[in-house]
Subunit: 331 residues, 3 copies
């Protein structure tokens, strides 16, 4: 048998949020994946000689509060490929080059409780966000010295038009001494609309920077998001997301503070939510694989617009405060 | 890598039942889980030092007759927690304290073919039963000498009302010499009805006792079930389930006989099914992990009411007889 | 713990096909399972002494292009049984005796890209094919010298009629020196129709032969398919599938050429598609577990009927040409 590993992250906790329904009620709930999405999977590699390896990965998400699968069975990773001195090429389903690069520059590491680095929550879930994973992808990742770079294509698979539905992401990062820098770009094509001959086209670019000094790490990043509509006379949807934060690490403690802000654009002034979220998190390591953590966040929107801490759930008020305490076990 | 185990139970057999449809036809079928529900999963633990461990469990059910999953992917177990001298605390989805305690006092061990200890089958499936597992749970289990005790809370997660939808179970057992005793209580809240300001509330208490003498084990148990309706002027639904049985074990043989009886209440006399089931089972161990088994059961209902052997399927006659032969493999 | 193995096949590639939609557009797509269906599972065995073993198998399909499961969670294998000098008996869900026997006589080994040995594609997907797997099955497989033989029953589980919905398959193969021979028969019962008292009945027989000479293997096979309708005055549906091919193997290369032809019957002459597919495939082994492969196929139908290379997708033209390049990793 080749080298196969069963692995996963089990992350669950209890969250309190206010403004949790239309009647302004608060809620206490069991959450799955407060720090990182709970997941399970298999991965393996086979040495082919000459520095070449075959690699595969199957990984699915799981909701620990109900035991339900989180989307498709192996939604997170379902791919096979080759890895060698040239880098790594995989085919199937996986996260994008953008996702892989940006996560290193989010102080909260895309934590569901709480980060807006994958998508900013303003007047609706997942708006102005990145596309975290592609179906039908081919992904290349390479490294040269301090540089990591890559490109991902997700085929549209529309008969008669290779460009309809096609997705791609490209970018790179560089780490040298105390400094890290990152840039990434993605474009998501919709299908051509018969009425106009145009298609929806979503693009997003990301920039990030990091500076380390002793036990402190400082990070900042931004995303410029734009949706050009294929329909005639439909204005673009635009929103820029900015974040910055600092992490202090002294084993067994890791403490992070961060701020996220979305600048919604092309909206009437009285609908311009421009939401901001402040987050703080303390983690205590019980071992290399097990952490206890507590996160607190407060979000607010301008002009009485609705806002939610979670990138997946809409909000019911113009502010929301939440506290999550949990445990994470990586196996 | 931490200690991770792939495990499961593969249990399949062939069952004959009479009165299997409205035309009184009999049926021969392949059944999954005649002795115990077929399942698969992962579990692991990580030593944190000082007697403390982190623990996790993912477990799903599988129908061996079709290969389909049995409900949510990891419906049976999806939890993470800590275990130490203080006991064990987990968070996520799991079986309840009631389930864990009562199974030790059911001579048939909750066997799908055949036991009514989790739910009594009378005029409909799963009536008058326990709630076997909770979503959104926090469960504590402790032991002190011969005592095992615990409590489970399943959060209702209704914004604005912590009590709506909340579930809890509490209980304990004691084993000393040849004697074992058990008591457990559970309460399941519905949501508040606007019309009355009340909510449905289901409660069940369980009592059990065991006595061992040589190769014989004698067990008896009961459940008192009550559903108080939140609607005005709606009578309670009540039903008490009683069981008793004996097991003779002499390796490689284990032979069990048991009787289950449900006393349905608050029904018109001519609808009062009060069903009874007699069961006998012989198991032959091929190894520590593999058994062959044969079970035979006969159920009858009073007043011409319908009854079925299975707690999941309704019956088509006022009696039903079934025979199951199968194999179980624990890996 | 008993002997448990995590295993699977990860197979993905890129396919080009022409005539991929009604507008005659071509398509480039990521495909999962070009050479063999991508899958994952668990299998194990427990030594019971005296040459007897308990065995189990859970195996599901996975679409590597999306991460979705391919049908029921463990649709491919979900069974438990015993194996010894007498052969192997399993109960649950599995492939049939026919499937197990015929795959050895298909030059392309049931490759999704491209083979019609499981089902012939003509004027619709999966017509005139075998039934690859049964629910509710009991399967026996035995070997005696060069003979392998077996029988599979899939219970209909219709109350009141054991024959309604029942399926069975029986057959055997013999290998001796350079020669191999195979014959198999299957019958699939529908349910009795009240109007006629008859039921639909599908039957298929398979014959196959193989001859090896040096690094060459020559194979040919056929299936005779018939659907007798339970409805009055409804003609049979009939179609015979024939194939032949040759494989040249010289490590690390394996090259195969094959032709498949379906003779559709009982159709008006101008609807008689009688489709033919020519296939060639080259495989290059990177290790015992990892292959690169490229397949090319061309299918055509008579009388302007539609035809598709894939047994799962309908075609949009009277010919289709496809090329698939991929990688397969067996773990």
């Amino acid at each position: 048998q080749t080298n196969v590993q069963v692995y996963g992250i089990m992350d669950a906790g209890v969250e309190y949020v206010n403004h949790a329904n239309a009647n302004d009620g608060s809620q206490v709930r069991v959450v799955s994946g407060g720090k990182n999405t709970s997941r399970w999977g298999f991965r393996g590699s086979e040495d082919l000689g000459g520095g070449l390896k075959a690699v595969f990965n199957l990984e699915g998400g799981v909701m620990l509060d109900t035991g339900a699968q989180d989307g498709n069975l192996f939604k997170r990773q379902a791919n096979v490929g080759l890895e060698g001195g040239f880098g790594r090429v995989i085919i199937g389903r996986s996260f994008t080059t953008t996702y892989d690069l940006v996560i290193k520059f989010d102080p909260m590491g895309f934590a569901p409780n709480y980060s807006w680095a994958t998508s900013g929550n303003a007047t609706g879930p997942s708006k102005y966000g990145m596309t975290t994973a592609f179906d039908n992808l081919i992904k290349y990742t390479g490294t040269t010295g301090g540089f990591t770079y890559g490109a991902t294509v997700g085929m549209g698979e529309q008969a008669g038009s290779a460009a309809d539905g096609r997705k791609y992401a490209v970018g790179g990062s560089w780490f040298g001494g105390p400094v890290g820098l990152m840039a990434a770009y993605e474009q998501i094509n919709g299908n051509t609309l018969a009425a106009t001959g145009n298609r929806d086209k979503t693009s997003a670019f990301h920039l990030g920077a990091e500076y380390k000094a002793g036990s402190m790490t400082y990070q900042a990043g931004m995303r410029g998001y734009k949706l050009e509509s294929g329909k005639a006379a439909t204005p673009d949807v635009r929103g820029d997301t900015y974040w910055a934060g600092a992490t202090w690490a002294a084993y067994p403690w890791t403490v992070t503070g961060a701020v996220y802000h979305v600048n919604t654009k092309n909206l009437p002034a009285d609908k311009d939510a421009d939401p901001t979220m402040l987050v703080a998190r303390a983690m205590y390591s019980l071992s290399k694989r097990v952490w206890l953590y507590a996160s607190v966040a407060h979000a607010k929107a301008d002009h009485g617009q609705l806002v939610g801490l979670s990138r997946d759930d809409p909000g019911f008020g113009s502010t929301q405060t939440g506290i999550t305490t949990g445990i994470q076990y990586r196996f």
